[in-house]
């Protein structure tokens, strides 16, 4: 059976048979880099199109439908437009930081891709602190945003960046707590072990109510962390004209825009890995026949299906809920999400110690 695991293994064998070890590593790394960049470009095109269609259908509109069949080439056309536009640098800006900021945001999004298991035994770097790595690196992206806001030399940008800082720093705590709730059950930070621990059922179902609460808190917190509506205080078109990327245009703006969607993909992939079993197929207890049919669906399809389901839920949030004010946003985190997730973690620890989970 052809799977991503077999393909990567056979490429590795082919290369190691003919080349020295250093050359093999170099070639494999460049293949991975190429694949990552391709994935980014594809994800950008697909997710932006998906967002536009989802928003249109939710708002009883038709959405893009002119470029290509059903409008599927709309985002390609938009990308070409952005690539041809002038990358404008304001006179008063700090030129070096201004040009560096979009790349910082983008590189951090790329680094987050490393520990994610896309299919069975198919991850770039299955390091033993995978989840910790993701939470640690994702908090660095606020530096890119602050850099952009500060270097633009624009009050709107600076305000947006400051808000983004406050928001990401506070919501990271409850996102971390929600992740910890699952780590308590798995006892490992390694992504492959977390996925393997769910071979007899996903944590969302096995972990009783605390897992469900943790899942809800995780989704809320990552929506805030990726600066999306209803928590889009960093952009806030209506009051800050675009927040930290007010001054950006052309391809530099496109990088920020792309990084937002990549971050959504990554947080949803992590959410799918922790709560929905990553690439594990859906199994119901003792239904042998049903489980067997589910095993036939490739693991990469399971992973992408779960991830895109979570992305859809986050898009659903965006086009349904009203925006929060900045003080309401911080109220929600410090007065509601954080105490609840602390008690939730305590409760889950009790369950894990007593072995009450399935």
């Amino acid at each position: 059976m052809i799977s991503l695991e077999n393909i990567s293994a056979s490429i590795h064998q082919l290369l190691s048979a003919n080349l020295s070890q250093t050359a093999v590593i170099l070639i494999e790394m460049s293949i991975i880099a190429l694949l990552a960049i391709t994935l980014f470009a594809l994800l950008g095109l697909i997710l932006v199109f998906m967002e536009r269609k989802v928003s249109a259908w939710i708002q009883i509109r038709l959405g893009p439908n002119r470029v290509g069949p059903k409008g599927i080439f709309q985002t390609t056309a938009d990308t070409i437009k952005l690539a041809l536009k002038e990358g404008f640098v304001p006179d008063g800006a700090d030129k070096f930081l201004y040009k560096l900021a979009p790349f910082v945001v983008m590189i951090i999004a790329m680094m987050l891709l490393a520990p994610i298991a896309f299919a069975k035994n198919f991850a770039m770097w299955d390091l033993n602190i995978g989840v910790f790595f993701i939470t640690a690196i994702s908090s660095v992206s606020v530096i890119g945003i602050l850099m952009a806001g500060w270097a633009s030399n624009n009050q709107y940008s600076l305000l947006g960046a400051m808000r983004s800082g406050a928001q990401i720093i506070s919501y990271e705590i409850s996102a971390g707590m929600a992740i910890l709730t699952i780590i308590v059950l798995t006892g490992s930070l390694q992504i492959s072990e977390i996925v393997n621990s769910q071979s007899n059922g996903w944590w969302l179902f096995k972990g009783h109510i605390p897992a469900v609460i943790a899942f809800v808190i995780y989704i809320i917190a990552v929506t805030a962390e990726t600066n999306r509506a209803p928590f889009d205080m960093a952009e806030a078109e209506s009051e800050l004209t675009g927040g930290f990327h007010t001054e950006y245009s052309g391809m530099r703006f496109a990088l920020f825009f792309l990084a937002e969607y990549i971050n959504i993909f990554i947080v949803c992939a992590v959410g799918a890995t922790l709560f929905l079993g990553g690439w594990m197929p859906f199994h119901i207890g003792a239904w042998e026949g049903f489980n067997h049919i589910m095993d036939f669906i490739p693991s990469s399809v399971w992973f992408l299906g779960k991830t895109f389901f979570l992305i859809f839920v986050i898009m659903w949030f965006r086009w349904t809920f009203p925006r929060l004010r900045i003080d309401q946003l911080l109220n929600l985190e410090w007065k509601y999400l954080l105490p609840i997730s602390l008690f939730n973690l305590l409760f889950m620890t009790l369950i894990a110690i007593k072995g009450w989970h399935f």
Binding site: V54, L62, T320, F321
Partner: protein, 160 residues
């Protein structure tokens, strides 16, 4: 303390319920594409589905005898907030030798009109109404100044 906790959890419960209610509605719209109200305009010109109260331009309906209901009272001209309507009256001598006021020209500047509907509300005899035509673009601005009463039209009998 107890009341505070009660309030705290009631708030959370009510927030979740109301958010789920919103998601239910948008989820319904997402799955039911027949609710879509957008129309693909140039393609569906033949089957355009305009709302009843859509306002395109002011017209003056004439019946088959080329008669209209405008007495030339100029209530519409006074009601118009931006001088879109200009009524030029004339005096006709009828069979009994009496002079009677009638409209000579009902001038309507479509380029100034904001489709506010105030003239139609002001008209005491329902002589003008809003039409649903909306493709008004022309190459010369003077074409937008329209004369609403048709040539040789008369006031309908019995309207004062």
């Amino acid at each position: 303390m107890i009341t505070f906790l009660k309030q705290y959890f009631t708030d959370i419960y009510e927030a979740i319920v109301s958010l789920l209610k919103g998601m239910k509605l948008t989820g319904y719209y997402f799955t039911h594409h027949k609710e879509i109200i957008t129309q693909e305009y140039p393609e569906n010109r033949a089957t355009l589905n305009l709302p009843e109260r859509f306002r395109g331009e002011v017209v003056m309906p004439h019946d088959e005898n080329n008669e209209h209901a405008c007495t030339g009272c100029s209530a519409c001209e006074l009601a118009c907030p931006n001088g879109t309507i200009k009524i030029l009256n004339k005096f006709e001598v009828n069979a009994e030798g009496k002079k009677k006021k009638a409209i000579d020209t009902f001038v309507y500047h479509l380029e100034l009109c904001t489709m506010c509907n105030l003239c139609i509300v002001a008209c005491p005899t329902d002589a003008i109404k809003m039409a649903q035509t909306f493709e008004h673009s022309v190459f010369d601005r003077s074409l937008l100044t329209k004369k609403l009463n048709q040539p040789n039209s008369k006031l309908r009998e019995g309207i004062e």
